[in-house]
């Protein structure tokens, strides 16, 4: 066990590393991220073997996840290498500035300082030790402490060894990365004054507790938690008719990785008359899948009992949960059917996220009523999905607006599971999808770990590299020249 002194030591190391790391050039940090990616790829087979044992996830799924994880690190390397993310703005001194003489002001984004990242259970690579939050924090130039998830301790340690070795080989300062284990240690560090931001992927319950701790500190810090999401999907009559594989695709999305994905569709809305006969058959084709760990298995078992026991709920595929060795649970998919009135009436039992292979199909009578229903039931989600046809466009436009208001990502066709890591991705949405609206996937995620700093009338040699006139790192600099602002360009005349 770490003692209080050890917590102090870990935080002190992170703080000491923060200043040195912040001064590294983006291209050197990019090279370090690539070195981490290479290290993970080189050890992939060994890591995947550990992960299979510790999480019960399948080899193909984990192979894809490793590829995503290492390429995510490369994507962040690519995102920072030219320094555009620093958002350098240089306002030249201007004696004739319209609001009065202005001094030379130069602004850039700087790392916020030591970041504490709580790893997730369900993505032992992509949202864990070297996952997206870690990649974003390191890309930003923040020293990083990862609190390992207890569900895959050996994998976490082995991954941390690879990260530490790769960062050292790339010439990064010591202690830029540290791993800690144990819930209390995470809680203690989150409250340490030297930690400047927190990130988290996990349950709404735990995430909210940690967010509240972060907000209650003598000096509060931002806490970027990705908590819960039920990812509703809406299908119009025309889509149900046109898409033969709609229900098979739905069942596949619900049951992939045993439904233990934050983007799993928890609700599918179909018109009253839709034929749901295919659900049972599709579900029957899905073999049982281990749940991540005994705690998650027990929670799913209870949640499934609650849903199946709610009045007005019909099982289209009852599924099953079997208890195996070591208290592990193995599940097959459960899909139930309700009508809108039942869902509204039993919202306390039905609306909560079911983490595992379970989803609810809701029959609705009127597309025009869906926008208000959606706003009422689903005020905050990572994703929302619409299956419609071109002919539906006018009818669904108000629903699309409601989905965009309440979600981070709106999909047209397809299924929300499987999040592409790209510059345009948004993985985050109104609470409780995330504690802030920030994204934790895609290159925009780096913004969470940066803050603006301005230098006024600074001599060149005391400016950070990105703000200097000779621009030694060659970063993009947006300049406002003297004189240009005096008449507000064409604005005043135009309107």
């Amino acid at each position: 066990m770490h003692t209080e002194t050890e917590i102090d030591l870990i935080a002190a190391r992170a703080a000491a590393a923060a200043g040195l790391f912040a001064d590294t050039a983006p291209k050197d940090r990019a090279a370090a991220l690539v070195a981490v990616a290479d290290g993970i790829d080189a050890a992939a087979d060994e890591l995947i073997d550990i992960a299979i044992r510790e999480t019960g996830l399948t080899r193909p799924r984990l192979q894809g996840e490793v590829r995503r994880t290492s390429n995510q690190l490369r994507l962040f390397a690519e995102a920072i290498v030219d320094g555009a993310y620093l958002d350098v703005r240089i306002d030249e001194a201007d004696a004739d500035y319209v609001i009065g003489p202005r001094p030379d002001v130069r602004r850039m984004l700087a790392p916020v300082g030591p970041v504490l990242n709580f790893a997730a259970s369900n993505f032992p690579f992509a949202f864990s030790v070297a996952g997206g939050d870690s990649a974003a924090a390191l890309a930003a130039g923040c020293s990083l402490i990862v609190k390992a998830h207890s569900g895959h301790p050996e994998l976490s340690r082995r991954t941390a060894d690879i990260v530490i070795a790769a960062l050292a080989s790339a010439g990064m300062p010591d202690n830029v990365f540290q791993l800690v284990e144990g819930q209390q240690r995470g809680v203690d560090l989150l409250q340490d004054d030297r930690i400047r931001a927190g990130s988290f992927t996990g349950s709404t319950h735990v995430g909210r507790l940690l967010a509240d701790l972060a907000a209650a500190r003598p000096r509060p810090i931002p806490f970027y938690g990705e908590l819960g999401s039920v990812n509703p999907v809406y299908a119009t009559s025309a889509a149900v008719e046109a898409e033969d594989d709609l229900l098979a695709g739905f069942v596949a999305s619900v049951s992939g990785s045993a439904g233990q994905l934050c983007t799993k569709p928890g609700f599918l809305f179909v018109p009253e008359g839709a034929d749901l006969g295919a659900v049972g058959g599709s579900a029957a084709l899905v073999g049982e899948h281990r749940l991540l760990n005994p705690g998650i298995g027990r929670a799913f078992e209870q949640r499934r009992d609650t849903v199946l026991g709610a009045v007005g709920v019909t099982a289209l595929a009852a599924g099953a949960v079997r208890v195996g060795d070591d208290d592990q649970r193995f599940a097959t998919p459960t899909v139930v059917e309700v009508d809108v009135e039942t869902l509204r009436e039993h919202r306390d039992e039905l609306l909560e996220e079911s983490f595992g292979p379970l989803s609810v199909i809701v029959r609705y009578s009127d597309v025009a009523a869906l926008p208000e229903l959606h706003r009422e039931l689903f005020p905050g989600n990572l994703t929302a999905t619409l299956h419609s046809t071109d002919a539906d466009a006018d009818a669904v436009a108000p629903l699309v607006e409601a989905l965009a208001e309440t979600s981070g990502r709106v999909l047209f066709g397809g299924w929300p599971t499987g999040v592409s890591v790209t510059s345009a991705m948004q993985h985050g949405g109104p609470f409780p999808a995330t504690t802030t609206d920030a994204t934790s996937v895609g290159t925009a995620a780096i913004a969470r770990f940066l803050r603006g700093v301005a230098y006024q009338s600074a001599p060149q040699q005391l400016l950070p590299m990105p703000l200097r006139d000779d621009n030694p790192w060659g970063v993009p600099q947006r300049r406002s020249s003297a004189g240009k602002s005096a008449g507000w360009g064409s604005l005043t005349g135009e309107h």
Copy 2:
């Protein structure tokens, strides 16, 4: 008094306006901001007369503030008109994407929804009804409720009338802007689920209370509070020798607007042997100035008594506080002197912000000890200032690093009062300077009221204007073409 039903009505109006306003084109919102600016300029004389009576601030100061306020609105108009702030990213579908086939994903920044802005007492224009936070929220496309400051009610109402009329004349939806009065009303609205972000400029005490309320909501929202700052200034021996007007400039910065500025230098660090004789003379030239209101006057009186009464404190200019009609206070500047040890020992009495014309000069013995001293005493400030000479550069470099770590803006020479409103300005810093690190001045302030939304595989006609291929608003679109990412450009090879 508003009743609960009235609060509900106000929030409902803001929510209804939010959707309509979000759909307006940036150039139309820009025109509306310019209309508000024109309205304020046209009524400037009348508004300034009211402000003088309600705040005790001088006509020249208020004339400058009105100019800043209307031009701030124009600056935000200029900042949004081309739509670059939407940060549109379009990732084309790519079957060969390195992480696996990717869909078409398009991301933009969208307004967060209704914003509640608590106006400040000390800037009746620039941080009030039509001030920077309001300009940023409206520029972002958020409907806005301003909670008026009780210190200038008539001015707030008159300004609100102008804002509402200008927005209507520019064709903006009804209820995009609403004014409310009364502390309880602000507190109630902050906890209304329809409000999606809060902003505030004021005391650390009140700001922290409101931030805690925002964080404790069933659905927490971001709260952008600009709370307290003591803005330390450091002068090297060489600077003290070289700058004849250093102390006169300091006294002017401390006493301008009776020291009621969030960027007022609360501490000036000078070498042990520095001659401080000029302080008394400079202070004696400053006439008495009314404090903003009786509450602020009484608080300053108490604060001044505490500082003057602390053991080890010597008055260089004692100043005075006179009680006039209507319980208003009139003050002349108080400047005291302490050594570092006294400051450390009596930090509970001395470190707190003194809102009014009072500052503390601290004698230090060793420049090399200043970085650690600064980190210890001043972990979060809006500004920090260094007066040094070119010959000092190596000696002060570590101090500059400490200042940048703990402040939003680092000045080299000059004084922190007088914040230029430009694209590179940062007005915000580590807590308690602000509740987040975000800026509330300058065009970067708009980012506080925006959130990312991604659309996946969307048909053109269901996309928002900025994301469409035919780009009807002509906004900048950053495209990642298919195929480009497969090899991570030159990255993998380079490092």
